[in-house]
């Protein structure tokens, strides 16, 4: 039977753009262009490699996000080579935190059917990195996170996790959830042919009701976290110039020590 791989991807505001908060203190998505989170490109890449190494695999990319998440997010993954997409879009999702998102993703992944779920190590906007673990818990399957190498064989997913003090080799039986790091291998660029082919690939649009999720469990109202206030980053101030008149090194060290860098 074919290996069913689901990749969870996020549509995020461009990190190089000027990001702002809207009045309700959620990210103002209208003010800046969005794109597929670069960290999720690694997940798509690993899924593609696993799929290329297996006789028969199908990759579905799943995203929970606003209207544009399809065209500017999912489509990139499809043009890289994924087979089909699922887009959960619903006004009630506005303001969801990771608890809400993981709930919706879990239902969507179950809806698709899966043997292996691949996630990026974190999103480039929220950078929490807990979603893969939450997702695995909600699905009730093993989680093998933060892998820099991953492979699937004989109903198992195996991988390597590089820690600060040790390198672990991990394995889990399928179905399972993995997340891969930015050390797992550069993501491929889509080809122009891939871009054109992506247009014809199916993307299923789902609402909360299609997944049987109560609206009050998600969105701002259902969030477990709340943003009380947010301030714009203060403008950069002029730096301190240390003139070396014999004591330059000491002055530098003192400057760094004062700010607890050393």
């Amino acid at each position: 039977m074919s290996l069913r791989i689901v990749v969870c991807v996020k549509y995020v505001p461009d990190a190089t753009g000027d990001r702002h908060f809207a009045e309700d203190l959620t990210t103002d998505r209208d003010a800046v262009d969005g794109l597929l989170s670069e960290l999720d490109e690694y997940a798509v890449e690993q899924a593609l490699q696993i799929s290329e190494a297996s006789d028969d695999a199908e990759i579905t990319v799943v995203t929970v996000g606003p209207e544009e998440a399809n065209k500017d997010g999912l489509r990139k993954a499809l043009s890289m080579g994924a087979d089909k997409g699922v887009h959960v879009v619903d006004d009630a999702l506005h303001g969801s935190d990771v608890m809400g998102t993981s709930l919706v993703l879990a239902k969507a992944v179950e809806h698709v059917g899966y043997d292996l779920v691949v996630c990026g190590m974190a999103s480039t906007d929220g950078t929490m990195g807990v979603l893969p673990a939450l997702l695995a818990e909600r699905l009730g399957v093993p989680q093998v996170t933060l892998l820099s190498e991953v492979a699937v064989a004989d109903g198992q997913v195996t991988g390597r996790r590089d820690g600060d003090t040790a390198t672990e080799r991990l394995a889990a039986s399928l179905p399972a959830v993995v997340s891969v790091t930015d050390q797992s291998g550069e993501a491929r660029y889509p080809s122009f042919k891939g871009i054109m082919a992506a247009k014809k690939k199916p993307v299923e649009e789902l609402q909360l009701s299609d997944l049987g999720i109560e609206a009050d469990l998600v969105g701002l109202g259902g969030a477990w976290t709340a943003v009380d206030s947010a301030d714009a980053r203060p403008a950069r101030t002029a730096g301190t110039i240390v003139k070396d008149e014999g004591e330059g090194g000491k002055q530098l060290a003192a400057f760094l020590a004062e700010r607890k860098f050393i």
Binding site: D18, R75, S79, Y189, P190, S191, F192, K193, G194, I195, M196, K199
Partner: protein
């Protein structure tokens, strides 16, 4: 509201897929092309790997038919791709333009069998082409070329020397113009010569003022034999093919010039906003703002003209005059813009620590190749007045 400073160019593109193509190109330019440009140009390193990446992404055959592995894109789109790449590194964009030029003859004048046999590999991204028209003694007067092609049954033998060949020595195939008949433009035939043909060799690359990453070399053809199946078009049709290729090639050069000029303007904008003199940012001084305004206007005018010519071409209408005008205007404007960019950066602009001086050195060649700007004026003059009469 748009923030101040350099902005991505607001592009008019005909389709959604062209917008997505452009996003891919910008991504490639930002991540693969620009970061190593200064260092490799300084060291004279040709970025073969970048061409492989462009090839796998399907960018080495954009304006050619899909059935032969091309991208089926109109010139209006292909040229804007070139422009984006030129803003990142001229060696790459000009290389792509020359590669496209070298495929032109076979794609437009080849027989169906020839196209089926050769084009997919030429457009597929793994191979790089070169175009051999110029000779040491046949530059602007290209019709006086002397490289000989002699026929013996189904085999042609080529002898002679070509000059100024972009990708000379590293190309996988060469489109070569050689004299198969009498003196003059009607005695010339075009051939597709494989890069590894016995008797084909390259001299050491020229030591140039700029564009040092792009090898330009003389090519020696010493008894190179090619099958008649590698003859492009009819015997004696070669010069017509060469000129038709150049009409399109010139549009590529125009787009390259606009790209470099845009990069120079962006560099100047960023610099002026960041530097203060007399207690104010330099960008506050009206004298400098007026220079920037003129630069931006020159760039936009050039872009509009090359796109007008491209859209005529895409509509199947004559575009030769407009192509010459676009090459002339875009490259002359780019020269002015890059000189002004150096001026705006002051002493910094004169150093190799900033790219402005490199842009200046690079665009100079665009006023020279694929028909000098004097030759472009001559072409435009002929469109206006007909051929010159000589007593």
């Amino acid at each position: 509201m748009r923030p101040d400073g350099p902005q991505p160019v607001e592009r008019q593109l005909p389709t959604d897929e062209a917008h997505e193509l452009m996003a891919l190109v910008r991504d490639l330019a930002r991540r693969e092309v620009r970061p190593r440009a200064a260092e490799e140009e300084d060291a004279g390193v040709f970025p073969r790997g970048v061409f492989t990446t462009l090839g796998t992404s399907g960018l080495l055959g954009l304006p050619y038919p899909q059935e032969y592995g091309g991208g089926d894109q109109p010139y209006e789109v292909y040229l804007q791709v070139l422009e984006e790449l030129a803003a990142a590194r001229l060696t790459v964009a000009m290389g792509l333009s020359v590669h496209t030029l070298s495929c032109f003859g076979l794609a437009e004048y080849g027989t169906k069998e020839q196209r089926e046999q050769y084009l997919p590999a030429m457009l597929g991204g793994q191979l790089l082409g070169a175009y051999c028209l110029s000779e040491p003694n046949a530059g602007s007067d290209a019709a006086s070329l002397r490289t000989r092609a002699t026929r013996d049954g189904a085999t042609w033998t080529l002898n002679g020397g070509k000059a100024w060949i972009t990708h000379g020595g590293i190309a996988d195939f060469y489109t070569v113009l050689a004299r198969s008949g009498a003196e003059g433009p009607r005695g010339i035939t075009a051939f597709l010569v494989p890069g590894d043909a016995a008797g084909l060799s390259a001299a050491p690359p020229e030591r140039k003022m700029g564009l040092k990453g792009s090898p330009t070399a003389q090519i020696h053809l010493d008894g190179v034999t090619v099958d008649d199946g590698r003859r492009i078009g009819e015997e004696g049709q070669g010069f017509g093919i060469a000129l038709a290729a150049l009409d399109s090639g010139r549009l590529g050069i125009a787009a390259c010039a606009v790209g470099v000029a845009q990069a120079a303007l962006d560099e100047a904008l960023a610099f002026l906003a960041g530097r203060r003199q007399f207690g104010r940012p330099l960008s506050d001084f009206q004298g400098l703002r007026f220079m920037l305004a003129d630069m931006a206007t020159a760039i936009e005018a050039g872009r509009a003209l090359y796109l007008t010519a491209a859209r005529l071409r895409d509509a199947g209408r004559p575009f030769s005059k407009e192509a010459a005008m676009a090459k002339l205007l875009c490259t002359d404007n780019a020269m002015k813009v890059t000189i002004d960019a150096v001026q705006l950066l002051g002493g910094y602009g004169y150093t190799a620590d900033f790219p402005a001086e490199r842009y200046l050195r690079e665009v100079k060649v665009l006023q020279i190749l694929e028909g000098t700007n004097q030759i472009q004026r001559m072409i435009i003059g002929r469109h206006l007045l007909g051929p010159e009469t000589r007593a």
